[in-house]
């Protein structure tokens, strides 16, 4: 009965939204409404206003969900049923490979003048948006997530650790050094955990190790599951496991409500920080965290996490206008605008060199020179190939680490359990 009610509700809502979309009018007559589907923080609000001002016949509506895990099933239903998707949809790096398999459902941006844009993007970012045979441009790159390490300056001071970002970076050239610093910290500030949870650290280290190693992580480039045979994965897993085993994480996952609450308290002191994470921290810790956070370099050298592409589903009623909007949002100037708003770091070299990015400082993060920190990191990034089932495998592996932290899985059984779970997830 409850389910039936939910289905009826969903139907009513779908019908309502379909009606809303129906009265858009054709082509040039009347304003065209374009819907943009994003998750998390893309920093497009100002850009929409700008675009609407220069294109009076366009009205932009953004639909935002806070986490990727909420976004994923929606997008899947929209694409599978050929209805409901926005005119421009964001595809995160984990989703892009999945939809590459169904690229027929997306507009080929080469048909809308995409070919001249190649030099606007880092070569690997451009390449990943292309179909394997290079004939279809599925997505235009938006941001990339070069890694830093966010830390709580005030808590470091309490623990007697250095607080200046250059010296903090020197505390942890390696992840082992990072662990030791954390042990020192937790000895001094017992109420606070060193890290937010095992998930962020696993994601960061997998991409770091894979980037410096074979260039792929859970799946090789022919999409075979290599979770248990790829040494980069094992190294990363062991690194993350050490923190769970030593009870140095608060066992939370980024962007979930407990994590958001934790940001308003002194629950954890550090957080692996791709550039886009800065926008999240600022949003969720608000007034409480202002001036308390800072960014240093990440242990273990380079690395990145996340980054998206903009694609236009074929179901869009206005593919031409949607493609133009996607081109604008992902253009160098669009990427500079998004960076200014939410610190999403540009995948466009021109944008990264723009003084608005390169010389930028982040007031919320104690005036950290984020443009320089992330710019230096972005220059070293080595891309990692992700398979179509990357997200499922990632979630399964993360669950095992969380269970270790909760005492439900013994640390020495963690790896074999992870292999077992991952095989089921990739089935």
């Amino acid at each position: 009965m409850r389910t039936a009610a939910a289905i009826v509700m969903a139907g009513v809502m779908a019908a309502a939204s379909a009606c809303g979309g129906g009265d858009d009018g054709e082509g040039g007559s009347g304003p065209i409404e374009l819907t943009v589907d994003v998750f998390g923080e893309f920093g497009y609000d100002q850009l929409y206003k700008q675009y609407e001002a220069s294109h009076p016949n366009i009205k932009i509506r953004q639909r935002k969900v806070s986490t990727l895990d909420d976004f994923k099933p929606r997008l899947q239903q929209w694409i599978a049923t050929n209805s409901g998707a926005g005119d421009v949809v964001a595809l995160e790096e984990g989703l892009l490979p999945t939809y590459m398999q169904q690229r027929g459902k997306f507009v080929n941006l080469f048909d809308h003048g995409g070919r001249e844009l190649q030099n606007n993007y880092l070569p690997w970012k451009w390449q990943m948006g292309l179909s394997p045979d290079g004939s279809q441009l599925v997505g235009l790159g938006t941001d990339i997530g070069p890694l830093g390490m966010c830390y709580r300056k005030d808590l470091f001071e309490k623990a007697g650790l250095p607080t200046e970002r250059d010296e903090v970076g020197k505390l942890w050239p390696t992840w082992d050094a990072f662990l030791q610093t954390g042990q020192k910290f937790q000895g001094k500030v017992p109420g606070t955990k060193w890290l937010d949870g095992p998930t962020a650290i696993l994601r960061a280290t997998v991409l770091q190790n894979a980037g410096n190693g074979p260039g792929y992580s859970y799946f090789d480039k022919s999409n075979n599951l290599v979770f248990d045979s790829n040494p980069s994965v094992k190294t990363a897993f062991d690194t993350a496991l050490k923190f769970s085993q030593a009870k140095m994480t608060a066992d939370m996952s980024i962007f979930t409500p407990p994590w958001q609450t934790a940001l308003k308290r002194d629950t954890f002191a550090t957080l692996p920080c791709p550039s886009w994470m800065l926008g999240g921290i600022e949003e969720f810790s608000g007034g409480y965290g202002k001036g308390k956070w800072d960014v240093a370099t990440v242990p273990g050298g380079g690395g990145y996490w996340g980054g998206s592409w903009l694609a236009v589903p074929k179901q869009s009623k206005h593919p031409k206008e949607a493609a133009e909007l996607a081109k604008f949002l992902s253009s160098p100037q669009g990427q500079v605008g998004a960076f200014k708003d939410k610190n999403t770091f540009p995948s466009s070299p021109q944008a990264a060199k723009d003084p608005a990015v390169a010389d930028s400082k982040n007031a919320y993060f104690s005036d950290a020179p984020t443009g320089k920190i992330f710019g230096d990191m972005a220059a070293q990034v080595k891309p990692v190939y992700l398979g179509p089932k990357n997200e499922e495998v990632r979630l399964a592996a993360e669950n095992v680490l969380i269970a270790v932290g909760q005492g439900k899985i013994k640390p020495e059984e963690a790896w074999s359990k992870a292999v077992e779970e991952v095989k089921k997830a990739a089935r």
Binding site: T3, Q76, A80, T267, K389, E398, I402
Partner: protein
């Protein structure tokens, strides 16, 4: 209505034809009208049922025989392969145990509590309407609000319940991590939402019990408690069986509460890191929409459907045994 019409269908005299009309056609039309109209009147139900009940059921069966992925776009005939896998799928049976565990933990106190609440409300008291309306308040509360309140209550670090436990001096409970405690927490959410609903059903049934039974019992000197156990409960038996069946069907499809409870986890459909509170419907959703196994999700849906039929049959036999449907 049928009794009024019966004479016209053959046994009685045909309806008199109005003057001036061709009697044969009129009579034939009237006969067609009598034969067909009842079917037309009941047809909306069947039309709706075929569209929203039968078709999805058969379509789901069709999907479950395929290796079908929404995100990847694969669609290959797999025969009974999904069903074969289901029988040996540890995660599915784990979810089944969770579902039944939460169902038992939730339903028993829920129905007992509802019975006592209804009994209290059935008495003359001040503001009884207000309290009766209050019973349905949890049902109409937005699920988002429920989620916020309950996750804050059961939060490991800053939760109200752990804070109270701390005051009493016992240790914190990690509500989400432990299989048993997560079941308890979810059962409490379920009870909060559905106890009042059952109480109202009981209340309605109680008001149909003849007052003179109670008066006679009172004259004989039976206490209120004795009246409750020996008059109210036996008279309510059919209603109690009805609520048990409804609660069984609802309990096997338990979805909203555990999903809301898992709001702090990486994937809410997982029901915790080791699936400690993943129910069958969550497992179905997880397969169909998160893990890109739409076909297998359909298989789980069918398994659930069969399970509900079996449970309902068991209930039905139980009802016949106890004489509830006389």
């Amino acid at each position: 209505m049928t009794t009024d019409l019966r004479p016209a269908t053959g046994t009685g005299p045909p309806p008199p034809a109005p003057p001036g009309a061709r009697p044969g056609l009129r009579a034939r039309l009237a006969r067609i009208d009598l034969r067909v109209t009842p079917y037309l009147f009941i047809s909306p139900f069947y039309a709706v049922f075929i569209l929203f009940g039968l078709f999805p059921l058969l379509y789901t069966l069709w999907v479950s025989l395929h290796d079908w992925g929404l995100a990847s776009g694969t669609r290959e005939w797999a025969g009974l392969e999904n069903y074969r896998y289901l029988l040996t799928d540890g995660d599915f049976w784990h979810a089944t145990v969770n579902t039944i565990g939460i169902f038992v933990l939730a339903t028993v106190p829920q129905l007992v509590l509802a019975l006592f609440i209804a009994n209290t409300l059935a008495r003359r008291m001040r503001g009884s309407t207000l309290f009766r309306i209050g019973m349905v308040a949890p049902l109409v509360t937005s699920t988002a609000a429920v989620a916020i309140v309950f996750t804050q209550m059961f939060d490991r670090d800053y939760g109200m319940i752990n804070w109270v436990l701390g005051l009493v001096g016992s240790g914190d409970i990690d509500w989400q991590a432990s299989r048993g405690w997560s079941w308890v927490a979810i059962a409490m959410m379920v009870d909060w939402r559905w106890t009042g609903y059952n109480a109202l059903i009981y209340l309605a049934a109680m008001q149909a019990i003849p007052r003179d039974l109670y008066e006679a019992a009172a004259i004989d000197g039976a206490s209120r408690i004795r009246q409750f156990w020996q008059i109210t409960v036996p008279m309510l038996q059919p209603t109690i069986i009805f609520t048990v069946i409804i609660a069984t069907i609802g309990g096997l499809q338990l979805f909203t509460e555990p999903v809301l409870f898992g709001v702090g986890t990486t994937n809410r459909m997982d029901g915790g890191a080791v699936h400690q509170f993943q129910t069958i419907t969550m497992y179905m959703y997880d397969n169909a929409f998160t893990n890109d196994r739409y076909g297998y999700g359909a298989t789980v849906a069918w398994a659930l459907f069969l399970m509900i039929i079996v449970f309902s049959l068991v209930n039905f036999l139980f009802v016949r045994r106890t004489g509830g449907t006389k």
